[in-house]
Amino acid sequence: MKSARHLVGRSLTWFVVGVAVFVGVLTTLPVPQAAEGPDRGVPDEMFAIVDVTAFDGEAFRQGWDVWVEDGRIRHAGQRLDLPDDLPRLDGRGHTLIPGLVDGHVHSFQSSLGDALRFGVTTVLDQSTDPAFAAAMRPAREEVGRGTGADLFSAGMTATAPEGHGTQYGTPVETLSGPDEAAEWVRARKVEGSDWIKIIYEDGSAFDMEIPSLDGETVAAVIESAHAEGLAAVVHVSTLETALEAMAFGADGLVHVWRDELVSEADARRFAEADIFVVPTLSVMVAEDPSVAELVSETDDAMLSPIQRQTLAARFPGGLAEGGDVAIENVRRLRAAGVRLVAGTDSPNPGTGTGISMHGELRLLVRAGMGNTEALAAATSVAADAFGVAERGRIAEGHLADLVLVRGDLEEDVSRSHDIVAIWKDGYLVDRAVGPAGGGPGAEIAPAPTETLVADFENGFEASFGEWDVTTDQLMGGSSSANPAVRDGALVVTGEIAPGPAFPWAGVIWMPGEQPMQPVDFSGREAIRFRTRGDGRQYSVMLISSAQPAGPPPTVTFVASEEWAQVEVRLDDFPTATPEIIAGLAFVAEGPVGGFAFEVDEVEVR
């Protein structure tokens, strides 16, 4: 008995020790240093990709080793003498390309993440809020772990009052004549525009009448830009305006045109003028089957809600006609030797940030480009055209912005979306969709069923979510707002103070349980509320994402002396996702001065 007990005890002890050792081993095993995502086990920061087919920005190189250190490419070439302890990835069967450079985008915070997740490590933005561009600028100067593509931007665009480009809710200072050009360009330079973008668009190609800058003003802006040392690119949509812009000395055109075919002679003139063209076939060739195919080959879970929405969206009235003309024009421009830059014009309807760059490559090949040439247009040619340094090439000293793709892209560039790994500044990129459309933050919550947000019978409170004050002090301004509840209505008084380009003050309602948590109001149609006030114009701002980037989409209303009911349809907000609401702000904007307005019976219905 004694020895049996002893054996039992010893067996149990062994068993417990064994289990403990096993669990101990499991808890000490290494976990990925890099970000989450499907590419576990891939080292980053200091490593080499060996024996890979590399596209260096200009040509394919077989059997290259690429040594990455401190966020940059230390060496690249055949059979490098690599240190023994350098972690290495075998690249056989794969193609390594420079991070893609999208030559035409419009950006907001989450779009940079979406771009990066699809291998677009640099975006060349052709119009965004200057404040947002400024806020993003430090990130591109820093070599380190980031969550989005590097942003280079024209910032504010040059356009006529009420002209194209003023409809998006971003602040635009318009131009009325050539004499304003020099001052306007200087202001852009101070704001930090990397180049100047000019809208030369009268809507004629779309059977519309849109106020446009006149040729003289366009020429003056181009001249001023060059005087300030900035490049100037022009938005055109007709052959005629394209030829004019060339004549004015534009450095590039950021669309190809679909109104008529370019003649061989004209194409040669573009080439001789050494003007580059960003054809943006992704928006020009609407509903192209190759794009649908690309989307179908992409795991739905890889797409952010915004990407899904913009891909599914269509231009009102359609853009179906003219796609073939655009393709043929690209073919002719290419044949004449015009520099062509890949760009998507995302997130316009039918495109998705990042993913559409792979569609653009397919479309450029359809327009006659070879695989090598199309990839160059999407990397080195784009970087050179816009003067973006250290990007678009696999070369010593360049940033380690790299995309590893399965298969041989020299054979078939349409495989470019089959991405194994992406590095930004040498850091492995997490390809998983973050919450709220790409950026870090809270998950999108479903909306409660009730429609009444607040009737202010019980003070400054909401039936769900909460109210708060919002002012431009967030952006370094000094405007103020003071909410008070009086006689069952919310009274907001305050003052707009001079300061930032884009001042505001007022109140914000955040529907989520967490502040700025996005809530999905799908199925609701409008925001309705009662208001009265000092007769000034006020705005309802809709903040969709937990990370508001730049000015949110806005609809204005006037608070007059008598109570009136205002209904703002969600569709009226110039945004792709009006039903995703992280915050709804009722604010005064410019001009400078005091304000007072009341709000009551706010509903989302």
Binding site: M1, S3, A4, L7
Partner: protein, 301 residues
């Protein structure tokens, strides 16, 4: 109709048990009774059905016809298992465990096992406790089996041909250990095909042949009834001429010889010499076991 109420002193019994393996009849209406405190020898030639009988008493075979009972219960019942032990004809247990480890494992099976040291002593294994089973001699291995059978301090012990394959020394050594059991008051069922072994160990012997009980008695009784002699000689006398003589069990011609199995060899020799003066090459030998059983078979007719 012997299967009446069992008497107090009956520990285990088989009543009119018939067992078949396919077409082969292994037991044919066998009755067997094990009495408290005895060493029962189940004697029979190979293939007589001894092991089948033991297997039925152990519950490792199911009863097909008839009845089997141990301690008044079904032979395989859990309450039976803890009170009995068995030493079977198996080719071995794990070679990689030591003697002590085997013993500890078997001791764990029983609620009140004998102390390991006592088991080692009873089986004469004190010096071999740490040796692996695979490194033991045949006799030592059988003693381990013996110790395992005793691990649970059984009231009833089954030893199925315990000395098969052992040399004389090893056999005698095991015999002396089995003899010790009787003194401790245990009941033992021992199968053997060796009459000497039954004689040396058993209080009572049951002889089985072709699945039937052909004799039962003390070893001395059985021995006397099997004390036949084989008389061989070269003679002109034919087997049928001697078959009717007193004591003759069987007579046959083998080659030139007449072989006569008899329980009264002196009378037979006298008679043979009287009838054939030319008789030559006369030998008288003890009958082999087969012949002894044959004799018993004739007796029971």
């Amino acid at each position: 109709m012997q299967a009446g109420p069992q008497q107090d002193h009956t520990l285990a019994s088989l009543s009119r048990v018939t067992h078949r393996y396919g077409p082969v009849v292994a037991l044919d209406g066998l009755d067997l009774e094990v009495r408290r405190g005895e060493v029962l020898g189940v004697l029979g030639p190979n293939g007589a059905g001894k092991t089948t009988a033991i297997s039925l008493l152990l519950g490792s075979l199911g009863v097909q016809e008839g009845a089997a009972s141990v301690f008044g219960c079904a032979p395989g019942a859990p309450e039976v298992r803890v009170r009995r032990g068995a030493m079977l004809q198996i080719s071995g247990i794990s070679a990689n465990l030591t003697v002590r480890e085997h013993i500890e494992l078997f001791r764990a099976y029983y609620p009140a096992p004998l102390p390991a040291a006592r088991l080692l002593a009873m089986a004469g294994l004190e010096d071999l406790a740490q040796r692996r089973y695979g490194k033991l001699s045949g006799g030592q291995k059988q003693r381990v089996m013996f110790a395992l059978a005793l691990a649970g301090d059984p009231e009833l012990l089954f030893l199925d041909e315990p000395t098969t394959g052992l040399d004389v020394d090893a056999r005698h050594r095991l015999w002396s250990e089995i003899r010790g059991l009787r003194e401790s008051g245990r009941t033992t069922v021992l199968t053997t095909h060796n009459l000497d072994e039954a004689d040396a160990l058993a209080d009572r012997v049951v002889v089985i042949h072709n699945g039937r009980r052909i004799a039962e008695g003390t070893p001395a009784e059985i021995k006397s009834r099997t004390a036949g002699r084989l008389v061989r000689c070269v003679t002109r006398i034919r087997p049928d001429e001697v078959a009717g003589l007193p004591g003759v069990v069987e007579a046959r011609t083998r080659g030139r010889h007449l072989e006569t199995l008899t329980t009264q060899p002196e009378d037979l020799v006298r008679e043979l010499l009287a009838r054939d003066e030319a008789l030559a090459d006369l030998t008288v030998v003890a009958a082999g076991l087969e012949d002894a059983f044959l004799a018993l078979t004739r007796d029971t007719k």
